[in-house]
Assembly symmetry: C2
């Protein structure tokens, strides 16, 4: 009996995206564990076995979410920061793109990111992404340094980059929690903290602990 099928049959690729959308939404609202596959399926307007058929287990589904959102973010940043610009310009554009992304996908990114930090199975996944970011930032600093004829130990550089990335993530959290805040303004603030400090370091100014 075909009393108008309530909703159309859709090709796999489309349904997969719908499922991912729903998954991101539910995971971000509930957290990984509290989210149920049933709720995700319902939110996607589909039944549970379909989710398993297309995206696999809950963990695999979460990883798929991470990948999609992560790739989107990386592309947004990479597309903005051309490698032949001066360091401060690159940093500025990268930050602008980053905060723009977070502002646009508040739900998606910020909370997935927050989720992934805590859960062991995904921490590695996330660490890889962050490592790439740290590497980019460290490379930027190193490049700028060499241009000035200076050099810092690689480890120090990495730690500085790590701190900058951490500060940025922290402001991203702040941005995600303040829906009325302006992404670009946040990027400017970050520049003020990050670049002014980094610029000092690049010019050879350093701080030393007092003898006590």
């Amino acid at each position: 009996m075909s009393t108008v099928p309530a909703f159309k049959r859709l090709p796999r690729a489309v349904r997969e995206q719908q499922m991912l959308d729903a998954a991101v939404k539910v995971f971000s609202r509930r957290g990984f564990h509290a989210a149920s596959m049933d709720e995700i399926a319902e939110d996607a307007g589909i039944s549970k076995p379909m989710v398993y058929a297309y995206l696999g287990t809950k963990e695999e589904l979460f990883v798929a979410c991470l990948h999609r959102e992560g790739t989107r973010m990386m592309q947004a940043i990479a597309g903005a920061a051309a490698p032949d610009l001066p360091a401060d310009e690159r940093l500025w554009r990268g930050l602008k793109a980053f905060f723009g992304f977070v502002g646009a996908y508040r739900d998606g990114w910020a909370v997935l990111y927050r989720q992934a930090r805590g859960e062991q199975p995904f921490a590695g996944e996330l660490a890889t992404m962050r490592a790439r970011l740290v590497e980019v930032v460290a490379g930027m600093l190193d490049h700028a340094l060499r241009a000035e004829g200076r050099e810092i130990a690689a480890l120090d550089l990495e730690v500085v980059a790590y701190a900058l990335v951490g500060a940025t993530e922290s402001l991203a959290d702040w941005l995600a929690d303040h829906p009325d805040a302006d992404p670009e303004k946040t990027a400017t603030r970050m520049m003020n903290v990050a670049w002014l400090g980094a610029a000092q370091l690049l010019h050879g100014v350093t701080w030393h602990p007092p003898a006590d």
Copy 2:
């Protein structure tokens, strides 16, 4: 039949601490959800109902852990940074205490902190703690600013403080993942990033976005 009671009966206060120790350990190793009350009880050398009798449900237990560790940390920091010192000295001592704490309680703090970020029921708890830290840092900056006859909008100050706290947490994570790293050296690195940038801001140097 009293064939030597395997382990002594202990007063409540002692057992509670043992339980909290075990809970911190297990939560940090497994994560909140993956941790089971059975394992915590076993690790504490006690049976499960005792845990329920003394510390309540799993959530309440976790909150108790957060409180204990959080209080310890706050005390460590507060004890180090006397309010009548100059800003950079306070910042330095605060950071030293903070990283020292993280270094000493790697298990306890770092992972509890990482856990709490993700899980909704505790995010608020954590946010309160961080808010206190941000407030302290912001107050420090504000104090230093007034001493120089300057002023920045409160919101800007808060955001800067937020970024600094974020960078610090990020390095704390790094420290927790590098057991051979030296807490004090990490604190010095943080000082280099944070203070050099902040000092610039305090002296009225700011960065402005290029017109594009």
